[in-house]
């Protein structure tokens, strides 16, 4: 029986069949709005000012920078002057190397950070022991860890992964902790009233209650993972996008620097989006509830 009072998103004007999947509705609604045009204009303005300052006017201090056209030509060239373009296998090798490092570090940070954060939030005793130590370690910049990472870990790969892991771990643990502490106390009391054991309270209340905040942390964590990865790759390692940027600089291959930077932007954005999407899939209740609130 259709309930007239339950709000349904307005669907008729989009002219899609009712059977169309959810994401198609979202896409159609997005295309109808002003957002895509604004996005195009935003990109055009950014590229335009680059073109204006470098290609066209060659302003002082900008004249040595690679122009839009140079970078685009190099990026799409089948025989790039500096050996790196969409057509060279080595380009993808750099991307894959960086992705693998970020993936490994992110997995470690999540696997360790989420439990530690949940414990920090749920157990005051654990928090008393661990939190003060974390508070001192957390502000230490990743670059300050580089010597230690190189001393502790063998080879070129593990120091990079370790450095990438560190920043992600802190972001993940702190947000998981915040998630637990932000759970309404009434939920915990209600669960106990209804006869839930400590384990049930954890699985049915604490974990799902902290999940939104955990995913906020994970999104941050992928971001910082890329950030510290590039820092680490600039210091050590023989592959990866950070390495590309650094060596191109010393070898005066300026267009390749920009290619590395933009590739980082695209790949980083894609990984964040993947985390966000996973969160949405795991928290259907949240998407449905937020939509009704018009968020």
């Amino acid at each position: 029986m259709p309930d007239a009072s339950s709000p349904e998103p307005a669907r008729a004007p989009l002219g899609l069949p009712d059977t169309a999947p959810e994401w198609l509705w979202h896409a159609a609604a997005w295309l109808r709005g002003p957002a895509p045009y604004r996005m195009a204009i935003g990109y055009a303005l950014a590229l335009g000012s680059w073109y204006l300052t470098v290609d066209l006017l060659a302003l002082p201090r900008f004249e040595d920078l690679p122009g839009v056209a140079d970078v685009f030509r190099e990026w799409t060239s089948e025989r790039p002057s500096f050996g790196l373009s969409l057509h060279t296998p080595v380009y993808y090798e750099h991307i894959l190397t960086s992705l693998r490092r970020v993936g490994l570090a992110f997995a470690l940070a999540t696997g360790l950070g989420v439990p530690v954060g949940l414990l920090l939030g749920a157990s005051p005793r654990f928090r008393d022991y661990v939190f003060p130590v974390l508070e001192v370690l957390r502000p230490i910049p990743i670059l300050a860890w580089v010597p230690l990472a190189i001393i502790i870990f063998d080879g070129a790969e593990s120091p990079v992964v370790f450095l990438t892991f560190l920043a992600s771990f802190f972001a993940t643990a702190l947000n998981a902790q915040l998630g637990v502490r932000s759970i309404e106390p009434e939920y915990l009391l209600a669960a106990r009233c209804l006869g839930a054991s400590r384990a049930s309270v954890f699985w049915h209340v604490i974990l799902p209650g902290a999940l939104p905040s955990i995913f906020t942390g994970l999104e941050l964590s992928v971001g910082v993972a890329w950030f510290s990865l590039v820092a680490a790759e600039m210091v050590s390692g023989q592959f990866g996008l950070g390495y590309v940027i650094n060596t191109s600089f010393t070898m005066v291959q300026y267009p390749t620097i920009i290619i590395g930077m933009l590739t980082l932007g695209f790949v980083g954005h894609a990984t964040s989006a993947a985390v966000r999407l996973t969160g949405r899939l795991l928290m259907g209740w949240r998407a449905r509830t937020l939509r009704l609130e018009g968020a």
Binding site: A190, A191, C193, A196, G209, W285
Partner: protein, 263 residues
């Protein structure tokens, strides 16, 4: 106690209960030598100004915190008092919270099925079946698979009461459950609560700010002040009040239904 067929359960006996909270300038007395009784299966409405200790008393009954002195018995058994400063939190006394505490990440059905599943009393399937029939019984068939966030505030309160009833509690502790509702919804809620109570008689310990609500719902109305008094239990007076309240309620319900249809 006489040996009747099904002895009613959930008689509460509160004697000389004192509870103070630590404050900036020494302890603040929240409940001061409070004594009253609630009969088994009765609806007891507790009214009083803010800070009179209503919620403190409810929390002591639920076992969320202890009392400093005095005693609370349920069906002759010591709940808290000498030798036991704090009651155990348990499924025989379930709280329905003022702001609602349905888990937003579970559907209404999963919320209602929660207690028997976590207690291991029923298989998941049986619990869901039972929950579905309880929700249908309460007229909430359409809201079964919705999340609490997608459910109207009135329906949400009924789902929460259904969730509490799944544990077959002897005492239901309601902390101003209808406070945030508009007058018409509130009126419908009152009828739903009375209906539910008629079907599953548990003792209802019902805190409210609303004197009209207290009089309409309560078999007994306790006015908590600095000194506790049990009031308004005279049968003739109550009959009169209920007559008036029923008329008002009927009018409100009709208006509500018309409003529903026009939606």
């Amino acid at each position: 106690m006489t040996a009747t067929a099904a002895p009613a359960r959930g008689a509460i006996r509160i004697r000389d209960v004192v509870k103070a909270y630590p404050g900036r300038d020494g302890p603040v007395l929240a409940v001061d030598h409070c004594s009253f009784d609630v009969g088994a299966g009765e609806i007891c409405a507790v009214v009083g100004p803010s800070g009179c200790g209503k919620t403190t008393l409810l929390a002591a009954l639920a076992g969320f915190h202890g009392i400093d002195s005095g005693s609370i018995h349920v069906d002759g058994q010591l709940l808290c008092g000498p030798g036991r400063s704090r009651a155990e939190v348990g499924p025989d006394r379930v709280v329905v919270f003022q702001n609602g505490a349905l888990f937003p990440w579970k559907t209404n059905l999963e919320n209602v099925a929660f207690a028997p599943i976590v207690q291991g009393r029923m298989s998941r399937r049986d619990a869901l079946d039972r929950a579905a029939s309880l929700l249908a019984e309460a007229g909430l068939r359409d809201d079964i698979h919705a999340y609490p966030g997608e459910t109207s505030s009135g329906a949400r309160r009924r789902v929460e009461i259904a969730r509490a009833l799944m544990t077959d509690p002897t005492i239901l502790l309601l902390d101003e459950p209808f406070r945030a509702l508009d007058a018409l919804t509130k009126s419908v809620m009152h009828e739903a609560l009375l209906e539910t109570h008629a079907r599953r008689p548990a003792t209802l310990f019902f805190i409210t700010h609303d004197l009209g609500e207290a009089v309409f719902l309560g078999h007994r109305v306790v006015v908590l002040t600095a000194r506790t008094q049990a009031l308004l239990t005279d049968a003739r007076y109550r009959a009169l009040v209920q007559q008036v309240a029923a008329l008002v309620h009927e009018e409100a319900r009709r208006a509500f239904e018309v409003g529903d249809r026009e939606h």
